[in-house]
Symmetry: C2
Subunit: 197 residues, 2 copies
């Protein structure tokens, strides 16, 4: 056995988990999302900076605004998912370094005048964290439906004003409903992805 993780957990997180396109009405509770975050927070980021920021859209009014920014093919599922998360990064993540990277005093100051570096590191590390988040949502027995089809400028302006947060994805969360899944599309084989030198 090459893996230590048991087969049921492998199935739950990877093999049997699918991107759901329909959901049941069962709500996703505050306790569930807190438990999910309590896993995600431990997974690694550069300088422990944790630039991921999450906006859970729970009110009907906010949901309606978000649906308005989604691409046509994503509107129905964004409207019907029990919970929708706008996930992105804080471009001012360096402000947290004195707290999250305390053994390197002065680290924050290196980024004060480096907005482009902050964007690059923030979006990359928050993207890793979105990967962790998708796995952690599955750890709660829920399906995650990440979507890239939306008006990013509209979402940023509408939900973050002229603030420092930038959207990277919108994720539908809930229990899969009827006909939730398309047939699984082909995966690239090991030899198509991996080179050994």
């Amino acid at each position: 056995m090459s893996l230590v993780l048991d087969a049921a957990a492998q199935d739950l997180l990877f093999r049997e988990a699918r991107t759901a396109n329909t959901f049941t009405d069962e709500p996703v509770s505050e306790e569930q999302v807190q438990a999910i975050y309590d896993l995600v927070k431990y997974a690694p980021t550069a300088m422990n900076a944790q630039p991921l920021r999450i906006t859970f859209v729970r009110s009907p009014e906010a949901r309606e605004r978000l649906v308005g920014h989604m691409a046509e093919g994503n509107k129905a599922k964004t409207a019907s998912a029990p919970l929708v998360a706008i996930v992105g990064y804080d471009t001012d993540w360096h402000e947290e370094l004195p707290k999250v990277f305390p053994h390197a005093p002065g680290a924050k100051e290196n980024f004060d005048n480096a907005a482009e570096v902050r964007h690059g590191m923030g979006s990359f590390n928050a993207s890793l964290q979105i990967g962790y988040l998708i796995i952690a949502i599955r750890a709660a027995g829920l399906a995650a439906g990440p979507m890239a089809g939306y008006d990013a400028e509209g979402v940023n302006k509408d939900f973050f004003g002229d603030g420092a947060h930038k959207v990277l994805a919108v994720i539908n969360i809930g229990r899969p409903g009827p006909d939730a899944w398309f047939p699984r599309s082909p995966r690239l084989e090991y030899d198509e992805v991996v080179t050994t030198v």
Copy 2:
């Protein structure tokens, strides 16, 4: 219980897993990395494009070249890890769409003359996949040490020539050695990361 995943698996993948700074001599086998990839490949990407590409550096000659591109503080662990992976994305990932997204004929052609979009989608989705990969390495009972401190242009030129692959991170992989861990740095709390609207 808000999570379905059992507590031991939560510990293995998130709570007890740490970014190792030293490793034992125990090799990481080809079987292990194939089993790791067999999990990663199932996790979701936009249009199922799977842009992640992995180069495992196994030969002493290639390892020496890679160490030469690493930042000073990363050279020793990159030299001593049982296995090192250069992870990045294929900027020509759209070439695979006829195979991996077969129900949308013509999808590839939409990206033929959209190099900038391909870079954006490729780097974002491969970053999600690096998140999945770090969790899957932990599923094999191994520690992953992702590093961002290296000369990206040098790695690209040296390992990918003028090809289409671009590095996003370098990851040390192996069993943790003596004094593998710094003390855990503080995590941001739920209320510092999450907003509900």
